[in-house]
């Protein structure tokens, strides 16, 4: 089986497994959204179940859920609000935050690695080796609150929470980007160092190629596949990692909604979010695989 066919086959399998697993968990669980408060009359429960579609046979429920998630018409606990209506404005917020953070990661991480390779062994290079470990160890829900407190409240330079103008973007995006940027810098530095001593680079240097040209054309290009392979899961990580960041900075995005829906036991909403996130993760991984295959012909043969 060819590389492309295998990858394309895997993606729907993953989605099906996620859909089945999440659906089974939600339906088999004892607790429902109406259990914590006082007992509801039977007819009220029946009406709610009918509105949410929980009175139908399980296979039909499953198919209806899949269709409802796909076109956004699945009802949520809030009356008159479908999954699509709740999530659409929030998806835009998370996408904006994720895109800015992604750009920050690429610029900071790759930029640092390239500069450290250009001046190999310099203070910048040593800072990369030692400084990035500290960043990698810290989770976003430690960096976020401390940044919000220090920069947002004590120094008062930027708004510590909320969503609005560009100033509101800086701290959440930075919090999201620090850890993956440090990881990317280490990864890219190792890949660049590996290529730095290969034969074609020595040949290029011997023929009188300038240092920047050698770096960007002869070292960076073959070092890209591992970097791209990392960026695919990273895009997905930015979606999942944004849960804590959105909570810390009160950003009205998908992650904050996910937690709220989970605490409210709004099962339909949680199910829809999990499936959408799974789709995003699978799509990002697939895209990264295809990009790596395009960059490095050797991958296609395995």
């Amino acid at each position: 089986m060819s590389f492309l066919a295998r990858r394309l086959l895997l993606a729907p399998c993953v989605l099906l497994v996620v859909a089945l697993a999440t659906f089974a968990m939600v339906r088999l669980a004892k607790g429902g959204p109406f259990d914590a408060e006082r007992e509801l009359p039977a007819e009220v429960k029946a009406a709610l179940a009918a509105r949410l579609g929980w009175d139908r046979p399980l296979p039909e429920q499953f198919l209806r859920t899949l269709v409802g998630v796909a076109d956004g018409s699945l009802p949520t606990l809030s009356p008159g609000q479908s999954v699509g209506a709740v999530l659409a404005p929030r998806a835009a917020v998370t996408a904006t935050l994720g895109a800015v953070a992604f750009a920050l990661v690429v610029v900071l991480g790759l930029g640092w690695a390239v500069l450290a390779t250009r001046w190999s062994g310099s203070a910048l290079d040593r800072a990369l080796t030692h400084g990035t470990i500290a960043c990698i160890a810290l989770p976003s829900f430690v960096i976020g609150p401390v940044l919000a407190w220090l920069v947002g409240v004590r120094l008062g330079w930027l708004p510590p929470l909320g969503w609005g103008g560009a100033a509101h973007l800086v701290l959440p995006a930075l919090t999201l980007a620090i850890v993956p940027a440090a990881r990317l810098a280490r990864l890219a530095r190792a890949a660049l160092a590996h290529e730095e001593h290969s034969d074609h680079v020595r040949t290029a240097r011997a023929k009188g190629c300038g240092p920047w040209r050698v770096l960007l054309q002869h070292i960076l290009r073959p070092a890209l596949p591992p970097v791209v392979a990392y960026l695919g899961p990273l895009a997905a990580w930015l979606l999942t990692g944004s849960v804590a960041v959105e909570l810390v900075f009160a950003v009205p995005g998908l992650g904050a909604e996910m937690v709220q829906a989970a605490i409210n036991r709004d099962h339909n909403l949680v199910l829809a979010l999990t499936l959408w996130f799974a789709l995003a993760v699978v799509a990002c991984n697939l895209l990264a695989d295809l990009a790596v295959a395009a960059l490095d012909p050797r991958v296609r043969l395995t």
């Binding site: 996620v18 470990i133 160890a137 609150p145 849960v243 937690v259 989970a262």
Partner: protein, 431 residues
């Protein structure tokens, strides 16, 4: 490895050992983590407070506070109760004389009382009737009482005990009493045998007056134990799965690897969040759920090692001797996978700690009998909530955050060093 690098390694090891030891011996090095002192409120690190419980109950013949002779200084100042209620979304204040009050200035010592008793300090500020209600007054808590105490004369209560630690005599202002109940917030000082009895709050207290040092250590117990146990779960499941796949080979192997591929592509954090919402969040579930997220990489590592080892002579010899498969796998294959497995385990522990703390942070942490347990993530979240608008209560956030950061950094650093020792090629670009 340079000498400086080695030194830093010892530093990480020492920091980690210190944190683990402090958390393990928390009952001996920290006060009671659940002792409420709502009248104290959030106090900065280094504060001392009178070591009394919420209510001091004294009775002749009952166990006493210790020592021979204990002296309580009790403030018997007048207490005024204000009834604060939510009326059509606006605040209504009724004074102690049943008359409406237009404005109520809250001293820092003002306490909120609900149906369940004291709910903590009301916080300094001014309440205005008809204005927006304070945060502690909402639809779920529409009526609360605020108690304001004017400092009054101090009375001393002397408690004498016999040799067996039982109370022999209670004397208040020269009057002997049979039994006495004193509210903890009224006790100004406690002297036992002439020595003041206070609790030192090394990292300060939270808004309910609980000792933050104690809470941080007990939170660390939970975070660290979830990290270690879930890692063990991951190692056991992963090594068995990987060993079977690698040993059987052929179609079984292909199928099992495809299974890992499918599971690997699932955003597990979301499935775990879903799991936390539908199941009761016991400690056992956390061990299982977080272990199940991490076993995939273990399985890959073991499978690769087993595949590489399967053709070696000593395995061939073991098979030729007719050893049963389980014995070959357990005694000959798995011990040879130990090196990479240990490095992976060292990296998994901090990863699991982060996941557990993350779940606690978003409010889906471990629960015990319906009550969330303290963990570093939960403490960071509560610290962030309680920072105050000017960020002046920073210790509530910084103490648990730095404890978690140091533990994670030390674990990462040690794992990274172990990896470089075992795999010279992975030495990060030759440095």
């Amino acid at each position: 490895m340079t000498r400086g690098g080695l030194g830093a390694g010892w530093l990480s090891l020492a920091a980690l050992a210190l944190i683990v030891a402090l958390c393990a011996f928390a009952p001996w090095v920290a006060p009671e983590p659940d002792a409420l002192r709502p009248w104290l409120g959030a106090q900065p690190p280094g504060t001392r407070s009178v070591a009394v419980p919420l209510v001091v109950r004294l009775a002749v013949g009952a166990p006493g506070p210790g020592g021979r002779r204990a002296v309580y200084e009790v403030d018997e100042g007048e207490e005024r109760l204000y009834r604060c209620a939510l009326r059509r979304g606006r605040l209504e204040i009724i004074g102690p004389d049943a008359q409406p009050v237009g404005e109520l200035a809250l001293p820092p010592t003002a306490l909120i009382f609900g149906p369940g008793g004291c709910e903590g300090p009301a916080g300094p500020g001014v309440l205005r009737a008809g204005g927006a209600p304070p945060p502690w007054l909402h639809a779920a808590a529409p009526v609360r009482y605020v108690s304001i105490r004017d400092p009054g004369p101090l009375r001393s209560v002397v408690v004498e005990q016999d040799g067996a630690g039982r109370i022999a005599r209670i004397v208040r202002d020269g009057q002997p009493l049979e039994a006495l109940e004193i509210a903890g917030d009224r006790v100004r000082s406690l002297e036992i045998d002439g020595r003041a009895r206070t609790t030192l709050h090394l990292l300060g207290t939270d808004p309910l007056g609980r000792d933050l040092w104690a809470r941080t250590l007990y939170g660390g117990r939970l975070s660290l134990s979830v990290g270690v146990v879930a890692t063990l779960v991951a190692l056991v499941i992963g090594s068995l799965y990987g060993a079977i796949a690698g040993w059987r080979g052929g179609r079984t192997d292909a199928l099992m690897v495809a299974g890992i591929d499918v599971l690997d592509a699932i955003p597990f954090l979301f499935v775990v969040i879903l799991l936390m919402t539908v199941a009761d969040r016991s400690l056992l579930l956390f061990f299982a759920a977080l272990g199940c997220v991490q076993w995939l990489t273990t399985a890959r590592i073991v499978r690769a090692q087993v595949l590489a080892l399967a053709g070696r002579e000593f395995i061939l010899a073991a098979r030729a001797l007719g050893l049963p498969t389980w014995r070959i796998v357990l005694r000959h294959l798995l011990p040879n996978c130990l090196g990479p497995l240990l490095v992976f385990a060292a990296l998994t522990v901090p990863a699991v700690i982060v996941e557990e703390s993350f779940l606690s942070f978003i409010g889906l942490g471990v629960q015990h009998e319906g009550r969330p347990l303290d963990s570093w993530g939960a403490l960071i979240q509560q610290g962030l909530q309680a920072l105050g608008s000017d960020g002046s209560r920073s210790w509530l956030l910084l103490a648990p955050a730095s404890m978690l950061a140091v533990a994670l950094f030390a674990l990462h650093d040690l794992a990274e060093r172990a990896r470089q020792r075992l795999d010279p090629r992975a030495a990060g670009g030759g440095r």
